[in-house]
Symmetry: C4
Subunit: 248 residues, 4 copies
């Protein structure tokens, strides 16, 4: 078995200047954002990536049909933009696998004409965040003004820090191929799936892509999540009160 296998589902000459990565990570912020954009734009799947560096398992869908763990490339080719997306449910199981898989992602990107990659993720701060900032990192210093103009912040850079997995390596390995890389990280607690942080991230990304994307569905998911959190808090307070009256 090859370490990585790529199955292309379409054979055409359409190139795309931009790839957006939204694999699983902190608060699922990157995944939520990328999948929201794909859904709104109606992107279609054009490639599947299988690898022995993914977990050795199949996923059962709601019909009972098995699917080998994979990452996938989707494409939206519209009048306003042509965009590629890299999404999936898993990253590599091993340190070495992250490097090997990212080189494959970059091979695909180069083959499809990509000149810039946005990698999306969460920036965990360990407490609930009211208004999520969008922190950023780039792989070429000349990209900084453009990101700041779009609403991205580089405040986090003062803390040093690292970006682990595909979101980091696409920047770090991409620069050696001359591909621009911008990592956007929505501030998030790190405790919950965070569509509100994803909405902040979407806002900055829209400015950078210069296209329109309706945020309504993401806003609704954020409101649903707010209500879930409110209910949990209420239940906790009630329980605390009951315990007090019991003691009293």
């Amino acid at each position: 078995m090859e370490n990585v296998t790529v199955n292309f589902l379409r054979d055409d000459d359409i190139t795309a200047p931009v790839l957006i990565e939204g694999l699983p990570g902190i608060g699922q912020v990157g995944k939520l954002t990328a999948e929201h954009i794909m859904h709104e734009l109606g992107a279609e799947k054009i490639a599947e990536i299988f690898s022995l560096h993914f977990p050795p398992q199949v996923i059962i869908d709601e019909e009972g049909v098995s699917h080998l763990v994979s990452n996938e490339i989707y494409r939206y080719a519209g009048e306003d933009a042509t965009l590629l997306f890299l999404v999936g449910d898993f990253q590599s199981t091993s340190a070495e696998g992250h490097y090997i898989l990212t080189e494959t992602y970059l091979d695909i990107a180069e083959e499809l004409g990509v000149q810039r990659i946005y990698t999306l993720g969460g920036y965990g701060v360990g407490h609930l965040v009211e208004n999520s900032r969008v922190f950023a990192a780039v792989n070429m210093p000349e990209l900084i003004p453009e990101v700041e103009a779009a609403g991205g912040s580089f405040e986090n850079a003062q803390n040093g820090g690292v970006i682990v997995g595909a979101s980091g390596l696409l920047l770090g390995l991409g620069v050696h191929r001359g591909i621009e890389g911008i990592c956007l990280m929505g501030e998030t607690s790190g405790y919950i799936v965070d569509p509100k942080s994803a909405e902040s991230l979407l806002h900055v990304l829209k400015n950078l892509l210069n296209i329109e994307i309706d945020p309504t569905l993401l806003q609704q998911r954020a409101e649903d999540m707010e209500q879930i959190i409110a209910k949990i808090r209420e239940a906790e307070e009630m329980k605390a009160d009951e315990e007090l009256s019991y003691i009293g």
Copy 2:
């Protein structure tokens, strides 16, 4: 050393349309079922599979003779059916090894003419089960009606879920070679070796294979296990009573 070595013990032209996998897993349900069928039909060993992805050890048999860890292929070639079996005491020690070993299993299956693979396992629910249902997953949607007609249930699919190891990968990698894959999972607590769940699984598999297999030995093992559980419960209740009278 090769990653995987296959020793064929027979050299003939007999092909088999069906492979049944029963490697170790939850409640040993798959292993019990496959080994029961092999025993009842009198299947013979036709190949041994060794690999550096298995644990680095030998097993000592009751005579004191060592045996390298292996998986094995058995065959039953009768008038009613020709069946292959994939059994053994271990699976891969590493994530990557699961992929590499499963590709070897599929190479063997293709070489021997296999068109359909049944993978057998347990479906752990965390509590003792009176009447084990048999849950299923398939690698091609058109297989669903046949499995349901034989008594398999797809209720579990609503929970999503994954199938880890060879039972999953034989479906997930097999579909890319055009081999039908059906995974049958006997509902089981997950705490004990469960011949009763294996008996339920056998019932559904017999319907699918359309052959007769005497379940008596499996039923006896299930009754033995029931008695062991009953005795453990009794002992626990007696102990609880004693403690109460001591307090009283």
Copy 3:
């Protein structure tokens, strides 16, 4: 770097029918026994084995000189016997490495004419043992009577059990090359380095090799260890007494 590198320190045609393995393991029983024999017979080092499957470190000797982790082949070529020894301070760091290293050991063995391998180890029972039995396993059933005649016991075989690492794999992989393999395991607590168990093991091995080896040094080490254990017990009892008188 090659996975395994072998440096031969001598270039002659001397072959040896027997290899004795004494790598680290339970109670260091195998290592103590092999090194005692090597010392008594005056064996000389004829090969060094380096590998990236060993721990990534050097060992500092009493002079302050570093030595890359290695396993080593020693040889005794006398009138009574020609024997090879496989010894060292470490085994593989990974499961796969055990297989790869053992194949190298067998390559060397074949090259040097080895027809039989003795692998030496401890058999941990979890409590201090007064008179250590010597349990055995073989890779060909016809070897059993000879081992029993020499004082080895196959009682342990009834418990099933596995032999992990080089001691097991030399038997399991060796049989596929037609090399006889006998594993001798001195009964030991598993808690301490156990020269007394090594002495029992030496006794059985001497019978099998049919040569004389003076056990005096091993007996002395066993007596030293007995005294250490006695002192620890005494100290524990005194401490217990003091605590009692303090309470009283």
Copy 4:
């Protein structure tokens, strides 16, 4: 992707007889010392080493620009000496990777004419050290007198001990290529980053290299660290006093 990639940033014929390794380790003693010398001499970067054996991540600098994890070769070519330095923020993530990376370091060293390697590290003793000794190990016994004359101590050798990672393997693998290897280890608690121990180490290394290096900056960092430790101790004592008066 290659396991290891080396990018040379300069193409000239300058050779250097000496390589100084200062990768991360106990108390960061080796890293502090190597980076101090590089800074004082004004060494320049001449090569970058990337590898899938490093952690799969990028590091964000204070501008917000990502940098793939790497080790780096710096060079100082002055009238008094020509020196190479091997530095970086990480070592291998796996045992095997340490061997593979060290072989690459030695390939580079040989290519650049290196005949001697100094590997720098800390020697953890588990308590704060007033006057750090500098312990040593060598890969050829004839190097001992020179190291002792320069102030290095071989007292530690009596305890046996191992040197893990690149500092050890450069000696252990280097000797097989005929490259002299001297490991210098500054005595340190192991609890804190220890510039004072680095200063002791610098003193011995200067003697060996026979060049002048101003220790002022390292001394200042050591004084800063002393003050930090003094303040922590003071705070702890005040807290202890408060607790006593509360009890009293």
